[in-house]
């Protein structure tokens, strides 16, 4: 299934989701948006020399990011641009909580956010007007609008399955095999309560219950008998009943799959595969059998930040071939003109046979219910 087809389907929904909040925020923060030339005041053509010049006089951008790689980029660009930006690395959930509390307290610390968990980002931050969606004009020509809502997407990643098996072939024919006795205590997942990204991956199964129902019948030759609301919940219920191992970190998944005697299957992000290429871990990536879940990292500019021009420069830089190079290769660029580089350049989103893309509004709708389900059944 191709990503473009899927994103086209979400276009209508995403624009209505983002539209309402955007309008209120634009009215409330009209003065600042006008002076920062963002939102409705973004000029048709942007003069990057003028932006660079204006950035020199700004106090210094504060970036909150869920990836530590931003820290190095900031050091490098401070030297190149002669500005004083700083970046903090926070976990997905902490980041959202922190921006929310700062905003409510009247603090306007953060100038740029780079984070996952689109559902929470939208509900807690965009609706609150704490973040404004800024897309450099040159990017608007290249990236479909759907991929810029509710905020500009920096890059894609996927939640996918690893395996370790004696003959190096995928040890299951169907995702439902993992719920059978053969895989008891042989699957390891990252705790969705610890990781916002994993929560996206887990809930995607709930949103794709219909597909799971079909897969079940294909595998067992009979329709599924539900003990929960849907085949999506049923899948996780049976996984949990099958003694799935729950670990805290993504490296824990990689470590467990690598160290296992015999068959072991893990669910985490594909970027850990870089460690396999580097020789630290040893496992295979399943791109064929089990469904893969598309996750994304978004960027938003802090409303009322005192350094809007530095924010613009940074957004443009992080989206570029050079500025985004720490991620291109392990993650997937949103801008189609970017060439994947690095160790994992051969792996693209098209490599995955089945790719599920969760919708933002579904994520918001499903999250609370899924957490309750997970707490009750884990």
């Amino acid at each position: 299934m191709k990503r473009t087809a899927l994103t086209a389907m979400t276009l209508v929904m995403a624009s209505t989701v983002a539209g309402h909040a955007q309008q209120d925020c634009e009215t409330d923060h009209d003065d600042w948006l006008r002076s920062a030339e963002m939102g409705p005041y973004q000029p048709e053509t942007e003069d990057w020399d003028a932006i660079m010049a204006a950035a020199q006089d700004e106090p210094g951008l504060t970036i909150y990011s869920s990836t530590s790689r931003v820290l190095d980029v900031v050091d490098q660009m401070n030297a190149e641009w002669g500005v004083e930006m700083e970046a903090l690395n926070l976990s997905t959930n902490e980041l959202i909580e922190r921006v929310r509390r700062e905003w409510d307290a009247g603090l306007r610390n953060v100038g740029l956010v780079n984070n996952g968990n689109p559902g929470q980002m939208y509900e807690a931050l965009v609706q609150r007007c704490a973040l404004v969606n800024y897309i450099p004009r040159e990017l608007q020509e290249r990236i479909p609008e759907a991929e810029t809502l509710p905020l500009l997407r920096h890059r894609y990643s996927v939640g996918t399955w690893y395996y370790n098996s004696p003959d190096d072939t995928v040890p299951y024919d169907n995702i439902w095999d993992l719920t059978t006795e053969d895989f008891r205590n042989r699957v390891v997942v990252r705790d969705p309560l610890e990781s916002g990204t994993m929560m996206e991956v887990f809930t995607a199964f709930v949103m794709n219950a219909d597909a799971l129902e079909v897969l079940y019948e294909e595998n067992f030759g009979e329709p599924i008998e539900l003990t929960t609301q849907s085949a999506g919940y049923e899948f996780w219920k049976r996984m949990l009943d099958n003694d799935v191992r729950i670990v805290a970190g993504s490296r824990d998944v990689a470590q467990t799959v690598t160290e296992a005697d015999g068959v072991m299957v893990g669910l985490s992000t594909q970027s850990a595969y870089r460690n396999v290429i580097e020789g630290i871990y040893d496992f295979n990536l399943d791109t064929e059998v089990a469904p893969t879940v598309l996750t994304m990292r978004l960027m938003g500019v802090g409303m009322e930040t005192d350094s809007p021009n530095q924010a613009k420069l940074m957004v443009r830089h992080l989206m570029s071939q050079e500025g985004g190079s720490p991620w291109w290769g392990a993650d997937f660029p949103v801008d189609p003109t970017i060439e994947p580089t690095g160790e994992m350049a051969d792996l693209t989103l098209d490599s995955f046979a089945t790719l599920w893309e969760p919708k933002v509004e579904d994520q918001i709708a499903v999250r609370d219910e899924f957490i309750d389900f997970y707490l009750a059944n884990r």
């Binding site: 903090l88 690395n89 926070l90 976990s91 959930n93 959202i96 909580e97 922190r98 929310r100 509390r101 700062e102 409510d104 307290a105 009247g106 603090l107 610390n109 929470q120 509900e123 807690a124 205590n185 390891v188 309560l193 610890e194 191992r245 729950i246 670990v247 805290a248 970190g249 993504s250 490296r251 824990d252 998944v253 990689a254 470590q255 467990t256 160290e259 296992a260 005697d261 460690n275 580097e278 630290i280 609370d368 957490i371 309750d372 707490l375 009750a376 884990r378």
Partner: protein, 605 residues
């Protein structure tokens, strides 16, 4: 009431009052303390209580009401909904079981050791007495980490086999690797120092005449122990049990490391997880429950020991206790005690060092040894000794420890000054009791309250969220009960006549503090200072919700590494924390020729 209507009399009375207040600094210091404590202690409690009954941010949908409106949603969820079993009752049962069982074990260890150290002629007492207290200094989650290194198996959690499994090939059973048994064991090893110190205190103050007269009348050692010694130290034992129990209720570290991987929840971890996924309504309810449980326990303690809160002292007759010769049991008992000290104090640290040197965890071969996690680089992360993030966290930890130590030691002295000088008045009672309240608030709950309270600017204070000050405030208030106990007992020993004499000679409050009160209470001040420093540096539960990257401290960094699955980094930092804490303790001990930990008995209520 008549004089209320006589303006002249009333004005004179007010003027008198004013003169009195100026002449007696205890009055206005007390008033200031009352206001500050009310703000820092009473207000947060109120905040939690109301927070648990109003719809929190982001919960409008699931609570079915607007944000900020009154609701029974959270209480209902935790107490009576289908999820109540998972969210509350199971963790509650687990918490009670763990606290009760570990308290009994810790008591047996502590009392047994205290008896051997005070009442018998066991050799090498001095050296042993130093080592016995090391586990109290070592953070409990460090010991929990060491436990997984020792007993981990390939079936649970990250599936890295521990030392035992690697060396013997015996797959350690799951119940020994994770869950209640290791949590209880780790906590018992960590907190037996409570009962040890309280019992040592009680035993050494027993009038030896009582025991000797019994001996003269032909009573056997056993009869003396049963009829005289035991009844005399019974209140201390009860007190030790209650305090150990109360400590266990809010304990986070061991349960987080040894419980979460097998989904064994206690109240503290349940609270942490609620807060981590942004469910603050539930977190507030759990906080209130923890506070109520601890309060009930502490109330039981005051019932047990009567109204005298500071009933143990370690001063005076320590050396004069009657000594029972061990005879042929001397050597076997020495071996036993040494083995115990080895397991409790030395083994965890050795294991941590060893694991921090393993390139790949669980591989115990020599070729796998590496300094990469200390001074090298692994997977883009620098070794802890060359990582600026770790350096800044270490610096933050040190600053935090020192600031809290100074602040609490000073506040403790002030509390002591007010309480002793205004003894029997409502002011003294108010200050003393408010200062005691944080004892019943578990560290993790404290973090949650301050997070909410100081995220917003309050009056002249800007938002402290994201600054080191929020940590300093929270940790200081958390330490206040201990510091004020120390302060009160230190001030009790200073005769008011000294201060009166100085006042007659025209010395102001500053001079009296500097020249009389502080020098004379130096020992208590120092004990409070060191203990505050130690507990602040090693505390995990308090800081885990409050730190941010720029205010990160070593303990939180460790937990971050564990969450990421980078155990060796966490081990290495744990070792550094232990070194800092031991170094500080021994440094003070050496410089002042006193044992700051011996002040421990005084500071525990």
């Amino acid at each position: 009431m008549a004089d209320t209507f006589t303006p002249g009399l009333r004005a004179r009375r007010l003027a008198n009052r004013a003169r009195q207040v100026r002449a007696n600094p205890a009055l206005w210091i007390g008033a200031i303390l009352l206001v500050v404590f009310g703000y820092l202690i009473a207000a947060p409690m109120l905040e939690i209580a109301t927070g648990s009954a109003r719809v929190q941010d982001g919960d409008a949908r699931r609570a079915g009401a607007d944000i900020g409106t009154w609701t029974a949603y959270y209480w209902h969820r935790l107490v009576a909904s289908p999820l109540a079993e998972t969210l509350l009752y199971t963790p509650l049962r687990n918490t009670l079981v763990i606290s009760a069982v570990y308290s009994v074990i810790a008591m047996v260890m502590g009392v047994g050791l205290a008896f051997l150290m005070v009442k018998t002629d066991l050799p090498f007492k001095r050296a042993i007495s130093v080592a016995i207290l090391v586990p109290y200094i070592v953070p409990s989650w460090t010991v929990a980490l060491a436990w997984t290194t020792l007993f981990g198996n390939d079936r649970v959690g990250i599936g890295a086999p521990g030392v035992v499994m690697s060396l013997t090939g015996w797959t350690t059973p799951d119940w020994l690797a994770y869950g209640p048994v290791p949590i209880i064991a780790v906590m018992a090893f960590n907190y037996y120092a409570f009962s040890y110190l309280l019992t040592v205190g009680a035993l050494s103050t027993i009038d030896r005449g009582l025991e000797e007269s019994a001996q003269l009348h032909g009573a056997s050692e056993r009869t003396i122990a049963r009829r005289i010694t035991l009844p005399l130290i019974l209140p201390a034992l009860g007190s030790a049990f209650v305090l150990t129990f109360a400590e266990g209720i809010g304990s986070f570290g061991p349960a987080a490391i040894l419980g979460i991987p097998v989904r064994y929840d206690v109240l503290a971890t349940s609270l942490y997880q609620s807060a981590a996924i942004g469910r603050f309504g539930e977190a507030y309810v759990l906080t209130l429950l923890l506070i109520v449980m601890a309060a009930v326990t502490i109330y039981a303690n005051t019932l047990l020991i009567g109204r005298r809160r500071s009933f143990t002292t370690l001063t005076g007759k320590g050396g004069s206790a009657r000594v029972i010769p061990l005879g042929r049991w001397r050597m076997p008992l020495l071996v036993l005690v040494l083995a115990f000290v080895g397991i409790a104090a030395v083994l965890p640290i050795v294991l941590l060092i060893w694991q921090s040197l393993q390139l790949r965890i669980g591989d115990y071969s020599l070729s796998n040894l590496s300094l990469a996690y200390w001074i090298g680089e692994v997977d883009g992360l620098r070794g802890i000794l060359v990582d600026p993030r770790v350096q800044s966290a270490a610096w933050n930890s040190l600053r935090l420890g020192l600031m809290v130590a100074v602040l609490t030691a000073l506040t403790g002295i002030l509390v002591g000054y007010v309480v002793v000088n205004r003894r029997g008045t409502w002011l003294a009672r108010g200050v003393e009791q408010l200062a005691f309240v944080p004892y019943v608030i578990p560290g993790i709950a404290f973090g949650a309250i301050y997070l909410t309270m100081f995220a917003q600017p309050i009056g002249p204070l800007p938002s402290l969220y994201g600054t080191l000050w929020i940590l300093v405030l929270a940790a200081s208030v958390n330490r206040l009960p201990f510091a004020s106990r120390t302060g009160v007992s230190a001030m009790m020993q200073i005769s008011p006549s000294l201060e009166e004499a100085a006042t007659l000679h025209g010395a102001g409050l500053g001079t009296r503090m500097r020249r009389i009160l502080l020098p004379l209470s130096k020992k208590g001040f120092l004990a409070g200072f060191v203990l505050s420093f130690i507990s602040t540096i090693k505390d995990l539960s308090l800081v885990i919700l409050l730190v941010t990257p720029s205010t990160n401290v070593l303990t939180a960094l460790t937990f971050g590494y564990i969450e990421l699955g980078r155990r060796q980094f966490a081990d290495a930092i744990s070792v550094v924390i232990v070194i800092i804490v031991l170094g500080a303790t021994w440094g003070v001990q050496w410089a002042t020729r006193t044992d700051p930990l011996q002040g421990f008995g005084d500071t525990r209520t």
